[in-house]
Every structure is written in structure tokens, then in C-alpha cells.
């Protein structure tokens, strides 16, 4: 670690300032979580920070016993999980194509991806809603044309574009694809063409090459792309807010939000336990994603 030598002959005073500054910043970062953690184990939690008078796990158990909790988890996992899988498949193929092609549209396309990535989601909610509403009517009349009326609603809850899993899955996938495509393109750029050429000489078709040569090599890149897609869709609040209304489809962000809006009788213990379980997958995923983080900004400049 020759780099660290510029900290000079470490006089105690200099490091003390560093420790103090870092402790203050860390304190700022961690304090809001202290309340959340304590409240989630408190039998009588309130909005204010306090040491639990009685420690209990009831808040956590409640999530899976009371209405709501488990259902919200299920919905979030189904929607975000499916969207992530779509992102992985599409960006894997697309990133490979983008890396290997030399077509004239390659550079404009890459610029286009950068521009698509800066589109603020709130600016899209109105046209998206209108477009999905039109699509939803089409899906609805198609479903109604051959299904027993009793079955229309449950089918629409799954395949509907508005107030259905399918619409939200497509929107999440579309929103996460540009970044995933970018990650996969830069990742494939680092894989030498030799393996594919060898397979080609052996007479493998494009799809054999993808399946046996490229897919195994792509796994680390896919890991990074999938983690980012998952974190971002898992935490998103805007799209479920616009696109879902049925209580059967309620997802974690909305369930949590609506529960703490109720003015009377907010059960802070329950909400805090729910919030901790909700943030856990994102925090774990972020731990894995941290080392890929820089690449998501700079792409062409490999980090």
C-alpha cells in the first residue's frame, strides 16, 4: 500500500480528525435505521425512538399471519422476479449483438441508449398509462371473446396491462433494459472472439455457439445486470402506484405506503418489521452490486 503513504508520517492528530469525520458521516447515515430496528422488535412501538420495553418477534410473525404482508411479498417477488428474468434474457442477447456487430447503426444506437437512460420515469407516466390502457382494452376484449365471464377477472389480474401483473412486468423490464444492455455490451467487449471462432470452425450454428460458448462466459456480466435490474425494480414506487389498484395485486412499496398514511391506529411495530424485511433483499443485492457500480456510469471507459 504505497499509495496510503501520502497520509504523511501518521501523526495521531491527523488520523483523529479522519476518525471523527467518518464517525459523524456514519452516524448521519445510520441513525434513521436505529429507530427502525428497535421499533421492529418493540411490542408497543411508536413513531419515536425508544428502547423497547418488551422485546418481541410478534411484529415479524404478524407479517405472515395478518392480511397483507405475505401477499405483498409474493406479488413483489413475482413481478420483480419475472421482470428481471426478461431483462436477463433480452439484455444477454441484445448486449451480445451490440458488442459483435459492426453495423452502421451501432454508434447512433449506443448514443440512443444513453439518452434513453436519462429519461425521467415521472415524465413517462401519462403516455405510458394511456398506451397501456389501450392495450389493456385489446387484451380484455380478446380474453372476453372466448372465456367464461367468471374467469375474465382472474385472467385479467395476471395478463392485464393496467391493474395486472403482466403490464407492470413489461414496464419494469423496459425501464431496466437500457442499463442492462449497456452492462452486457461492455461485458461482451471484454470477451475475446477466439472462442466463438473456434466453435465456428467446428461447424456450430449461431444458437449452438450462444448456448455452449457464449452463455457460460456471460454469467458474471449477467449477474451484474440482473442485480441492478432487481434492485431498481424492487425499490420502485411510481409504477405500481400508477398501474395497480386491486388489493390482490398490492406490492410491498404501496402496501407500506398506504399503511403509514392511515391517520388513526398506525401499527409502527408491524410497519417497521415489514420495512426491514422489504429492504433486506435490496441491501443484500447491493452488497454484491457495489463493485460493478462504477461501470454503470461510465460504460465505455472501463473501470
Amino acid at each position: 500500500m504505497s499509495k496510503s503513504k501520502h497520509a504523511l508520517p501518521t501523526i495521531f492528530g491527523r488520523d483523529a480528525v479522519a476518525y471523527a469525520t467518518l464517525s459523524l458521516i456514519s452516524l448521519f447515515c445510520v441513525i434513521p435505521f436505529v429507530w427502525l430496528f428497535l421499533a421492529s422488535f418493540d411490542g408497543n412501538a411508536s413513531l419515536f425512538l425508544r428502547w423497547p420495553s418488551s422485546w418481541t418477534l410478534n411484529n415479524y410473525i404478524g407479517i405472515f399471519v395478518r392480511e397483507g404482508g405475505a401477499r405483498w411479498f409474493f406479488n413483489s417477488f413475482v413481478v420483480v422476479g419475472t421482470a428481471t428474468i426478461i431483462v436477463l434474457v433480452f439484455s444477454g442477447f441484445g448486449g451480445y449483438a451490440l458488442s459483435r456487430t459492426n453495423a452502421w447503426w451501432k454508434r447512433p444506437f449506443l448514443y440512443g441508449i444513453v439518452l434513453v437512460r436519462v429519461v425521467p420515469p415521472p415524465a413517462l407516466i401519462v403516455p405510458l398509462y394511456k398506451i397501456l390502457l389501450t392495450g389493456n382494452d385489446a387484451v380484455g376484449s380478446f380474453v372476453r371473446s372466448f372465456l367464461n365471464p367468471d374467469w375474465v377477472r382472474p385472467v385479467m389480474l395476471v395478463f392485464g396491462l393496467i391493474d395486472g401483473y403482466f403490464g407492470l412486468i413489461l414496464v419494469f423490464a423496459a425501464m431496466q433494459l437500457p442499463l442492462a444492455l449497456w452492462i452486457m455490451k461492455t461485458y461482451f467487449d471484454t470477451i475475446p472472439h477466439d472462442y466463438e471462432e473456434a466453435a465456428l470452425v467446428d461447424g456450430a450454428t449461431l444458437f449452438q455457439r450462444i448456448r455452449h460458448v457464449i452463455a457460460p462466459l456471460a454469467l458474471p456480466g449477467l449477474g451484474a445486470a440482473g442485480i441492478f435490474a432487481f434492485i431498481s425494480a424492487w425499490g420502485d414506487f411510481l409504477m405500481p402506484l400508477i398501474l395497480l389498484s386491486s388489493s390482490e395485486l398490492q406490492m410491498l412499496p404501496l402496501g407500506l405506503f398506504r399503511a403509514f398514511l392511515r391517520v388513526q391506529q398506525i401499527d409502527y411495530g408491524f410497519l417497521s418489521a415489514l420495512a426491514i424485511l422489504y429492504m433486506l433483499p435490496a441491501v443484500i443485492a447491493f452488497g454484491f452490486a457495489r463493485r460493478y457500480f462504477v461501470q454503470t456510469f461510465s460504460g465505455g471507459v472501463k473501470a
Binding site: 419515536f48 439484455s91 449506443l110
Partner: protein
């Protein structure tokens, strides 16, 4: 590389699913919003089924609308205070300090990353508790120890509070990018400067800072764009209130479109926001100088 040429149409075809999905649900909506902004489209009433073309009327209304200008000003301070100043300064300081061989280095690092990892609504929920009024709330109790009387933070200083909260959330992204910049500075330069007798402060100002300038610039662009797109965190925390003191542009679009049901007018706001983001995006494209 003639084999790529031979199979190039097959390879290009692999990109089609991405193009279709992004085209249908990102690019087309963005263009469609320009059309919608020229109509009186609505969520309810006659205009919901048969929107009429109204030309520039929504834009005329927009530029005369105090609420719109308010949201632009709030967004401006929000971006400046949290992304450009708060996150950047704290992120740079953390990155510089964490390069030293300190004890608990990984612990500090993980704690600073934590706020960045939590979902928006959880972050909002945390800050509702932090900033609650009354002498028992976390912040008031902490400041009470210093003898500062309790304050109803979200009512008295709403804009400053969302800036503080968003700074909290984004230190990590600034820190990570700054760390990447710092580690790309060749150590020999420091060596040489030290031999020439430069003080640590001089080294930082005349060597480190200029050398990580590209990273700083990149961070500024990216964080400005992402901060403009924030919705859930602030909506969960304040819903734009009190009044419209924290109505950042995303919340304003949502309120106009889905609370006041004016889709056409909301689209006009969205188009203005899109234009701002695209302008920054074009600079971003130039800076990246995409390697093909």
C-alpha cells in the same frame, strides 16, 4: 473478422426484443407525450374518451402557472443542495478519508452505503420518524442534547429537510465514483510532489482535484439527471407538502395528471422535464465519447 459479417444479420436480429420493448414502453411514450401535451386529454369526463387538439394552450397555461414555476424552483434547489453540494462534498470527503489505512474502514464503508440500498418508501418512512414534530422525535432529541429547542422540521423547513434527507440517501454513489477517480491517480505523482515539498493541502488542490475532475464532471451529470427523476422517496416523505413547498417536478407531474386528472396539462410539464433531461443527456453523450 469475416465470420461476423456472414452471420451479421442473425446477430443483429438478437437485438430485436430489446428494441421492441424499449421502443414501445420508453421511446414511443416519450414521443407520444409531445402529442398528448397538445390535447386536452383527461382521466375523467368527455375529454377522457375524445381528447381535442388544443395547440399550444397547455404550454401557455404552463408558463403562466405559479405552481409550475414553483416546482421548477424547488427542483433546482433540491438538485443543487442534495446532489451537487451535499452528496458530492460528503462523498468526496468519505472517499478521500477511506483511502487511508484506518481501522473499521470496512464498517464505515458499509454504513455509508446502507442508505443507498434501501427502497424509496422505506427511506421515506425512516425520515418521517427522524423529522417528526414534538420533543420525542429522533432529531429533536439529538439536538435537544445540544440545547436546541424542538422544531416541527417538515413544516418549518420542508425544502431544507428534503435536501438533507436526499443527501443522506446519495452519499454512497458520490463516494464510489470519487473512489474510482482517486484510485486512478498514479501514486508516483504523489511521490514526486512530496519530494518537491508540497503540503498535503497543496497536493490535494493542485494534483488530486484536477486529476479526478473528469469523474467529478461525470458524477455531476449523472446525479443531476437521477435527482430530477426522483419521485417515490419525497412523495412518501411529504407528498409535495406542506402546500407545495416540496413539490419537485416529478410530484408536480403526478399531481397534475393523476390527482387533478389533467393528462394533457401533465404531459406538457413532462415534455418540459424531458427536454431538460435530454439536454443534460446530450452533454453526457459527448463526455462519454462512447467506444464502439
Amino acid at each position: 473478422m469475416n465470420y461476423f459479417k456472414r452471420t451479421s444479420w442473425q446477430v443483429q436480429l438478437l437485438l430485436l426484443p430489446c428494441v421492441l420493448l424499449i421502443g414501445a414502453l420508453v421511446v414511443y411514450p416519450a414521443i407520444y407525450s409531445i402529442y398528448l401535451s397538445l390535447t386536452n386529454a383527461s382521466l375523467v369526463g368527455a375529454a377522457a374518451t375524445n381528447p381535442r387538439f388544443v395547440g399550444m394552450r397547455n404550454y401557455m397555461r404552463l408558463f403562466a402557472d405559479g405552481g409550475f414555476w414553483n416546482s421548477l424552483v424547488v427542483t433546482f434547489w433540491f438538485v443543487l443542495g442534495s446532489a451537487v453540494i451535499g452528496q458530492f462534498v460528503l462523498g468526496l470527503v468519505s472517499a478521500v478519508l477511506l483511502r487511508r489505512p484506518l481501522r473499521f474502514k470496512n464498517l464505515f464503508n458499509s454504513i455509508i452505503l446502507l442508505p443507498n440500498a434501501v427502497p424509496e418508501v422505506v427511506a421515506g418512512y425512516l425520515w418521517i420518524s427522524m423529522l417528526a414534530g414534538g420533543e420525542h422525535s429522533t432529531l429533536n432529541r439529538l439536538l435537544g442534547c445540544l440545547g436546541i429547542p424542538s422544531v416541527r422540521w417538515l413544516e418549518q423547513f420542508p425544502l431544507a429537510m428534503i435536501i438533507v434527507a436526499n443527501t443522506w440517501r446519495g452519499i454512497a454513489s458520490a463516494m464510489i465514483l470519487m473512489m474510482a477517480g482517486l484510485s486512478s491517480v498514479p501514486p508516483e505523482i504523489y511521490e514526486a510532489a512530496r519530494i518537491d515539498g508540497a503540503s498535503p493541502r497543496q497536493i490535494f488542490r493542485s494534483i488530486t482535484l484536477p486529476l479526478i475532475m473528469p469523474n467529478i464532471f461525470l458524477y455531476m451529470l449523472v446525479s443531476t439527471v437521477t435527482t430530477i427523476s426522483i419521485f417515490g422517496f419525497i412523495y412518501a416523505l411529504t407528498r409535495g407538502g406542506p402546500g407545495n413547498a416540496t413539490e419537485i417536478i416529478g410530484i408536480y407531474i403526478y399531481n397534475q395528471s393523476f390527482t387533478a386528472f389533467q393528462l394533457g396539462y401533465g404531459s406538457a410539464v413532462a415534455v418540459v422535464t424531458l427536454a431538460i433531461s435530454m439536454a443534460i443527456g446530450l452533454v453526457y453523450v459527448r463526455v462519454l465519447r462512447v467506444k464502439v
